[in-house]
Amino acid sequence: MQYKQAKSFVYIVSLLALLLTLAFAFRSFVF
């Protein structure tokens, strides 16, 4: 069911985006 897959993809992209924003903000600690 592509509708459900699309919704799951939105959650994955959002979560990944949130993690990357945190990685950027705290890059001096992370990297």
């Binding site: 509708y3 699309a6 939105v10 992209v13 959002s14 924003t21 950027f24 903000a25 705290f26 990297f31």
Partner: protein, 446 residues
Amino acid sequence: MKNTGKWKRTLWILLFLLLVFTPIGILIGGTEPSPSRSPWLDFSVALGFIGLALMAIQFALTARIKPLKEPFGSDVIYHFHRQISIAAFLFILAHPITLFIIDKRYLYLLNIFQSPLAAKFGVSAVIFLIAVVISAEYRKKLRIPYTFWKIWHGILTTLVVALALLHVFLIGSTRYLAYPAVKAVWLGYTAAWLLLLIYTRILYPLKLIRNKYHVKTVKEERGASWTITLQPARKKSFHFKPGQFAWLTIWKTPFSDTEHPFSISSSSEHPEEISFTIKDLGKFTSTIKNLQPGQNVYVDGPHGSFTIDRYPEAKNLIFIAGGIGITPIMSMLRSMADRNDKRPVKLFYNNRDWDSVTYREEIAVLENKLNLQVIHTLEKPPQKWDGETGYLTESILQKHLPKSWFQKNTEIFLCGPQIMMDIVIKQCMNLGFDQKQIHYELFNLV
């Protein structure tokens, strides 16, 4: 065919991820953290960057780029557009909220009469974005007419992205946009977004005007519906697959952004003429009967992946229609008749009463031409009716489907009111059909 679609989908998804994450990737890899700056300030900036990148990409999703829509289906793209736009909205909203949490003094930026120009742009963008989201989510509850909403949705979202980009360039020039790589990325996004606007608002409407259609006939059908048959004004006509739909602009020009989606009901084997059967359901559809032969209609199509042609290996076909949802299925039946396709077909066709069964007589003729069995279900049957009554149920489906049909090479095509589709999908799954065998398109997203 399916494998090619899979590859195309994968490539589009990778491109999407690249576009969403390039700005943040450049920030992470190409900028230096400032010791005097709160990491939460950077967090806030990054939220805004992600949100804006997501917003700008929406213009590509809704630009009717056929190579993008075909592998997924237009309805899935619109569904995704709606979902991911809410994510974009939350990221953008979180950008100022984080600022206010870090330091309450930032609240002064909300006073657009005294705040700097960059803040004026940013705050206005967020206000317009809130209006966009509320009007899209609650259009029906707020009783906003579709055409009015559609025009303003286009105007407001354009304003949001334009103001947000101005906000980024003004405020960012002193900080992250001072890095050439970051600036180059955002200049690139701005240029691509402007090109998309030119394409969707100027070039695409011009193309539709060049390929306009004329009304050939307007015919009344059963069930308060009207069939309009169109012919291309110039020789060029598009080829479509049975079950696909097109956006029609009637009474106005394509620049007005007032098109409506309708399923093509005619046979795909005769693309020189295309027909649409439209039920009189509201302000716009009630004007269809007033169309005159020779009148201009602008047709943007074909679109959609709701078609039997995507499943050439299907051995048995089940069509389920509710009321005017018969139109794409009628295109499939007519095309099958023209192709001399003798695959067994069961059509479950639900209507209120016998007199409002659209295409009733023609379907009876097709029953003899095709290997087709029609099961009418009527909510208000006439006296002496020995067919099925009420809504379509699991037991009606089970009663009319041979056991040999409950296997992988049966494909189900479903079109009708949303509530009926939700119920029938569950019924089909209860009967043992796989989700992948059930095909439908949803269009009442707003």
